[in-house]
Point group: C2
Chain length 242, copies 2
């Protein structure tokens, strides 16, 4: 079903996560791996480039490919830009900790100019405005505001917002996968309203992440802003040259 290079990438990723290859180990050469998986070098390279981008290996010209320093500090929750499934909050953490949501607001309103511009729709188009508190092991850690055009999803069951992953719901409902995520990361301070919702001090530092999510067909379906407790969130970012 999926592309061959994705399968290969996942296979090697699992091998690394299972410690079959350890940090600093040299993994087999492209030519060996291509033979093993029975693909051409071009296809294998595609897999390896993705693995590199995701931060699992390092490719060094003339030397070989090496397993990178591990996925580090698990005390803090991270949310990066290069994983398979960055986007949904519950998706990312559901196997590690107990994630839940508390729905604060669910309204149908007109987009207004700013939101409309982000979503590439008309300012008078209807959208769902959703505000949720996210909890990890029952501790509130962030507030997330979402703006979703009614044209994409006519209605959103409250049950989804309370318990399930909104992204999975939308992928299933529309039959399209999530493709794009453009975000802007900023630091700010929690104001009275938001700090009260998280039960923390006003003026605490916040990591604010806002962005637009798009589906495979290029249609924007969600503009979101999340206000994250700075003491619980970091963002890992990796970059590979050229």
């Amino acid at each position: 079903m999926a592309a061959r290079y994705i399968d290969i990438k996942n296979s090697l990723k699992q091998a690394i996560l299972n410690n079959e290859y350890r940090v600093g180990d040299k993994i087999p050469s492209e030519r060996e791996l291509a033979l093993h998986y029975d693909v051409t070098r071009v296809t294998l390279q595609k897999a390896m480039h993705v693995l590199e981008q995701e931060g699992f290996i390092e490719r060094i010209h003339g030397k070989g490919m090496y397993v990178t320093k591990v996925i580090e500090d698990n005390v803090y929750l991270l949310n990066n830009g290069t994983s398979d499934s960055i986007l949904g909050f519950s998706r990312e953490f559901k196997n590690q900790v107990k994630v839940s949501s508390k729905l604060i607001t669910l309204n149908k309103i007109a987009a207004g100019e700013y939101i409309a511009a982000q979503l590439d729709i008309h300012a008078d188009a209807d959208i769902h405005y959703i505000r949720r508190i996210r909890l990890v092991d029952n501790v509130p850690v962030l507030i997330e505001d979402s703006y979703i055009p009614c044209a994409v999803i006519a209605s959103i069951p409250e049950a989804v917002l309370q318990k399930a992953s909104l992204y999975e719901y939308i992928e299933n409902k529309t039959g399209r996968k999530i493709k794009f995520y453009n975000s802007v990361i900023e630091a700010a301070l929690f104001d009275e309203t938001l700090s009260a919702l998280l039960n923390i001090e006003t003026g605490s530092p916040m990591l604010k992440v806002s962005g637009v999510t798009k589906l495979e067909d290029g249609k924007a379906f969600n503009y979101s802003i999340s206000f994250n407790r700075a003491d619980m969130f970091k963002i890992k970012n990796s970059w590979v040259g050229k």
Copy 2:
């Protein structure tokens, strides 16, 4: 000299920046562009994938390629993870504003465990510890601490730290290009020491970016932490699925 696909990417990037293609425009198909640049589709696709990663175009299966919303808010300075030359501060901004540095500290010290672990060297190896204030149009906007192994660069002229780009100096000195950058982004508050250096209020929000930079041969050469005024810096992050 450079790879063909990089040239093509830059050529199209320039065309977009010059408004030869405007936001929302459909650009020619892969097959047309491949013909025009006289390369195969595979090579052309490589160029386009990079261009997509850098946020200039969107590729939509079955439809075509479209110019993405522009590089936006130029009042704030941004520092993202997908550009050609993210890394150096002066590199990124030297054509837009007047960037200068003020050297606060330049010491040769032992790495110590934490820094040594980041740089993958011994804890008793010598490093340069550098603290600089960066100014944009003579306004101090961030503080940057750098930890550079003496084994990579024996000495660093003060003049470089005051005026020039440290990264360019190192690329020239070692004859190797910068390849890697793994960073962690956090939010925090400015303490007394740091706020005094930037002449802002203690307790102001800060965007803290720390990371390791590596050269082409995989050798770590700089662990840095930058403390950025949150009101002047945002980070743009784009992610493309699959």
